[in-house]
Structure formats: structure tokens, C-alpha cells
Symmetry: C2
Subunit: 257 residues, 2 copies
């Protein structure tokens, strides 16, 4: 059984005016959240900031001090609004330099002129390491506890594969879902709270659904001790059944948290 | 022409462990971003926080001090993990009370027992006002410059319709999109930056795409002066054409920002 000192935490920082303007629906946060969960790292907070230097630096400095890891997405392309590398370097108080491997990679591409804009993408902060990009274009980088990834989802996902092996993972969180159809949260709340109070190490949540197909709620039990999660799901099903609640579906162990 | 002092800002605070665990893909941020844009309010920052009282209060106090408005989503249901109302009341230093209109509404529902869990949903902070819920269940509320909405997307969208008329709108941001197919950002960056520097009141961004259908970038020009946005789009198209860039598609004025 794991203790709470095993907890390893991370924050995600999504950088880009296009998310805040509503032009783009972010999907990276959800992908990263699941990826971190599978590596035993708790995503504890996320922030979306615009392409504004002082705000990026301020948020990064808060988050990298508060959590074990920070993952940023966006702002590492060749255009003038791609300022993430500059901001990360300034936050760490180091200079940017053109990484020879990235320059060589760019030079090796047939028909590609190595102009000033493309050279921007070769810059990483002193003391940083590359994060491999298996998809397209130059790599991301890491420095200290900060991973700097692309914003384009397909590229971000590719880069993420070079992040996991560098994380000090905590105990992986497992979950059980108890789905109740046709009963509202107003009835479920009391037994759920009683069980939550009896298991302070676990996180119990209720996520109601409403739709043409009916209503109900997914009661989710999350924790680091699989046996306790399992036993608590059974306890919850028994408590609901004793209350006369019908249409309870408990999922199998090992479902995604 | 609008000046920068017209800028009205907002932050979104998404409350819920289910977003941070990756269980749920948030879609509310994007809906709110577009809604605020249409009302002339700039979404300047967003945060996702878990169901942890101290963290919710701390983030809310920062954001409500920094921006004209804060919109929260999530945590207003009847279960023990729904602590948003408690946190907002504590942040404002006021008590919660059972709003008689909500109690009456709950009592009027046939077959619904007004138990302790359901009464939780009737609580709003002293000095608050209701935000109508046209979809299902109890309303949200506003207090000071903070709007507290549901997390379930269909309900959140319904409540949002009772928010706009309370916002002091700035000048609405308009945008033009110049799509370039078959040319990468490495080529586009230089003319884009030159035009961005010549128009400091505008925001120019480049959003590359890659896929089976080809690659390219959407160059987006945003600003409060429609004539300047329009003229700058034409200027950008001319500059790209002069560089020999082909396959340029400029959208029509009035597209969503």
C-alpha cells in the first residue's frame, strides 16, 4: 500500500492566444492528464495563458516551484508569436543557443532554406536537453523540471513519448466507476459522502449525466491502493442497493482513472 | 476606432478533479471564450483547479482581483465534492444562505424529496444574485464580478445566456483568416512579423496544420478596428503574393474571431 508521500505532481501550461480567443478547442490537456496518470503522476493544476512574455514567465515560475513537473504546450514554432523558448530561458535566467543537432537536422532537409525564422526553432536554453519529435520538424526541450512541447496535437503526442521515461513516477492511481441510471445525485449524495468520509485516502466524485437516453450519475472512486478502491466500490454498491437504488453498473477493475 | 482602454477582461476557472484526472475532456472553456468574444470581453487567462478548498479560494481571489470578470464552472451539484459555493462565499467573506426561490423551485418538483443534499444546491452567498438555469435543476449565481456556473456542458451553456447582459462589453474583436496551403511557417514567418510590427494594435498569429490532406498555416489577424483588420489582411496577402507564395485563401470579413 502506498503512502501519500509517494505523490508526484505536475502542472500543465497551455500557451496560446488561439485557445483563449476560442479559435481552437484544446485537446492537449486531456491527453497529457491521462498520460501522467498512467505514469503515476498527479496533474494538480493547469493554466492557459496568452502569448504575453511577462505572463508566461510569471506563471511558469509559480508552477515550477509548486509542482514536481511542468509541461508546457505551444509557442515553439518559427513565427514571431512563438515566444515560449525565450520565456523559459528568461525564467531560468539562462541564454538560448542554437542546438547543433537541430541545425544539422534542418540543414539535412532537402530544399529547405535555413532562414532566420527556421533558426529560431533551433534555439534551446543553456542546460536544456532535447525532447524528441518523431512526427515533424524540430524537437521540444526540457530544462530543470519543465518540459516544453509543441502545441499541434499530433506533434505534442509524439513528443510526450519522450517525456515519460524521465518522470519519477508515483504510485499509479486506479479507479472504479459505479454507474447509476435513473437516480439523481440528490439521492446518491448522502451514501456517497458517508463512504468518502470513511475513506479519506480515496477521492470519490459524482459526475451526473443528462440526455435523451436518460439521466443518472457516474460515481468514481480513485486511489493508489487497488484493494481499497475495489473494496470501496463494493461497499458503495451495497449501500446503494440497501437504499433501494436500482440500475447500478460497476465497471471492471483496471479501467482508466 | 477603439482605444486599448476599452479592453474588458475575464478569466475562466474550471473546477473539478475529473478534468485534471483526464476522465473528462473540458469543452466549456472554448464555449465561454467564444461567448465572451462575441460580447467584446477578452478572455485573458484560464485555470483548472481540483476539488480542493484552499486552492479554489486562492485562485479565485487572484483572478477576481486581476480581471474584470471571473466565470467558474463545476462543483455546484448536491454531492460532498461540490464545494464551489462554499469556496466562493469564503473568498468573499460572506455566509451562504438558502435562497427561497430555489427552495420553492425544488419543492415544486413532483416526487422530489427535499433532503439535505438537495438543499445544498439552494445555497448562495449573501449579496449574490441568481443566474437562471433554463435546462435542468437549480440556478447558478453571481457575486461581485464572479459568475458561478454548472460544469455539465448543456447546463453551463444554458446558464451562460443569463450572463451576457450583465457584462460591460468592450469593443468586439473581429478577425480575418488568411489560409496558406503548401507553404510552411518557415517561409511565412518573416512577412508576418514585419506586418505585426507595423500594426502593434493588432494580434497576428500563425496556426500551422499538418495532415493527410497537406500542410500549411492559418494566419489570423485580430483587432478591434474592423477597417484596420481588413486592410491588414489585404496587406498580408499582397506581401505573400510578392514573395511568390501561392494557394492563399482569405476568408470573408466577419468570421468568428
Amino acid at each position: 500500500m502506498s503512502s501519500s508521500t509517494d505523490r508526484v505532481t505536475a502542472a500543465v501550461m497551455i500557451i496560446g492566444d488561439e485557445i483563449l480567443s476560442g479559435r481552437t478547442q484544446d485537446t492537449n490537456l486531456n491527453v497529457i492528464a491521462k498520460y501522467l496518470g498512467a505514469h503515476g503522476v498527479d496533474l494538480a493544476e493547469a493554466r492557459v495563458v496568452g502569448d504575453i512574455k511577462d505572463e508566461i514567465i510569471a506563471a511558469l515560475n509559480v508552477l515550477r516551484g509548486r509542482y514536481d513537473y511542468v509541461i508546457t504546450t505551444g509557442g515553439i514554432g518559427p513565427t514571431h508569436d512563438d515566444i515560449t523558448a525565450d520565456c523559459v530561458a528568461e525564467a531560468f535566467g539562462v541564454a538560448l543557443y542554437e542546438h547543433p543537432e537541430i541545425i544539422a537536422m534542418l540543414k539535412a532537409r532537402p530544399g529547405l532554406e535555413l532562414n532566420a525564422a527556421r533558426r529560431r526553432m533551433a534555439r534551446i536554453p543553456e542546460g536544456g536537453e532535447l525532447v524528441r519529435n518523431p512526427v515533424s520538424g524540430p524537437p521540444g526541450f526540457m530544462i530543470g523540471n519543465v518540459f516544453v512541447l509543441a502545441g499541434v496535437p499530433s506533434i505534442m503526442r509524439g513528443m510526450l513519448e519522450d517525456v515519460g521515461h524521465r518522470l519519477r513516477g508515483g504510485a499509479v492511481v486506479v479507479s472504479r466507476n459505479v454507474r447509476v441510471d435513473g437516480t439523481g445525485e440528490g439521492v446518491l449524495a448522502e451514501p456517497l459522502e458517508a463512504i468518502a468520509k470513511a475513506h479519506p485516502d480515496l477521492s470519490l466524485g459524482s459526475y451526473p449525466f443528462f440526455g435523451p437516453g436518460g439521466y443518472g450519475s457516474n460515481l468514481v472512486i480513485r486511489g493508489r491502493d487497488p484493494a481499497e478502491v475495489e473494496a470501496t466500490a463494493a461497499e458503495l454498491v451495497a449501500a446503494l442497493t440497501a437504499l433501494g437504488v436500482a440500475n447500478i453498473t460497476a465497471d471492471e477493475p483496471g479501467a482508466p482513472a
